[in-house]
Symmetry: C2
DNA sequence: CCCAGATGTAAGCATCTGCTTACAACGGTA
DNA sequence: TACCGTTGTAAGCAGATGCTTACATCTGGG
């Protein structure tokens, strides 16, 4: 049912799988850039060089597209990253515009797409929980999950400030300098003593 | 031209100033809850108990309303808060749902409204710069502005995680516990040595 | 009292949104 | 070659959105 057996080598004139993939990639990029609500299905189809009707044929709805983008692009690579490297990898990915490719654009999609909608929130929740449980292992404290949430909140905030607000000096700051400051402060977040009366 | 001199004391039957104010307050709350793009002018008018045409008569456009909301509600009170108290006040305001009233809802408006639009970004930029310059005084380091940006990013991220993602344990965490962790880590951000090779 | 301006209302316009439908073109198969 | 499912296209629908227009109603000063 998959893997076309016939076409010699090059690209096919009519290739559903390729079109589907182009739609997926266009959606991933646009969701990361403009957020879920800020992106229209027409823009996605246009960037993919496809007709918008195909988007609904392949994904059912705009929401279905988001679900697939998050599930495919985000979760899989996230699960492959060791928790100890996750924060810095994600941070550097955000700072360099996802050039390292470690955490791809899942954080940015998450960042820009968390809106008011119930459905989108549900779809993105799993991605967030995946981050949380990974980061929670970094602190042995009882409230490790809370600290993980706070760390992830900082990631989201930095991404927000860089890609959305784009204000100096954060937007143009040296990734190493930012990492040094953030990771230094985070060290104390991980190792802070448990609630001691 | 202002201050009606005649009406005895109570409320007037037809009071433009009061209607204007209700629209402003409704817009402030809705922008804070749903973001700029997620809020419709019809919702604002409805919550204010006014006709939507009045919104355009008084503010020209939806964008004009945002500008006024930020300028009036946000900047003025922000400028009245000492920098040393700004971060904790804003953080507690976010954590308790703006109950303290210190930093009002300007941070939330900022948080939920930073979208793709050029105009909105321009309007909100001034608010962000105000926060930055206030926080930048907390660190004597050369890169104080960068550290201020990072601190504000954390604020935004925490607000995002709490009000938008609403995931436990952050959403229901004790504000004091969160403050303890965040302020502790922030201490090290303010006092970290300058870039030492 | 009476009228001009201030205030509030209802309806609608133009456009955009997610989504659907009807149809054309292609391509492997028999 | 004839066929039929697959892939791609064009047009449009119903609803929502920002904004405008034409009109009703109130209020205060002459």
């Amino acid at each position: 049912m998959e893997e076309a057996p016939c076409p010699p080598a090059g690209e096919r004139r009519r290739d559903a799988a390729a079109t589907r993939l182009r739609l997926l990639e266009a959606a991933r990029d646009l969701f990361a850039e403009r957020g879920y609500e800020g992106t229209t299905v027409r823009e996605i189809a246009e960037r993919a060089g496809a007709n918008q009707a195909l988007l609904f044929r392949y994904f059912g709805s705009k929401q279905g597209l988001l679900t697939e983008v998050v599930a495919q692009g985000g979760l899989e690579r996230l699960r492959a990253t060791p928790p100890g490297e996750l924060f810095e990898a994600s941070l550097r990915s955000l700072l360099t515009g996802s050039a390292t490719g470690a955490a791809d654009r899942s954080l940015e999609v998450y960042l820009r797409s968390v809106g008011r909608g119930e459905e989108e929130a549900g779809t993105l929740r799993e991605l967030g929980e995946e981050y949380q449980s990974a980061l929670a292992t970094l602190s042995g404290a009882e409230d490790g999950a809370l600290r993980a949430d706070l760390a992830m909140a900082w990631l989201l905030g930095i991404g927000l400030m860089r890609t959305v607000v784009a204000r100096e000096p954060l937007a143009g700051a040296d990734p190493d300098a930012v990492c040094r400051l953030v990771l230094g402060a985070l060290d104390h977040l991980w190792s802070a003593p448990d609630r001691t009366e």
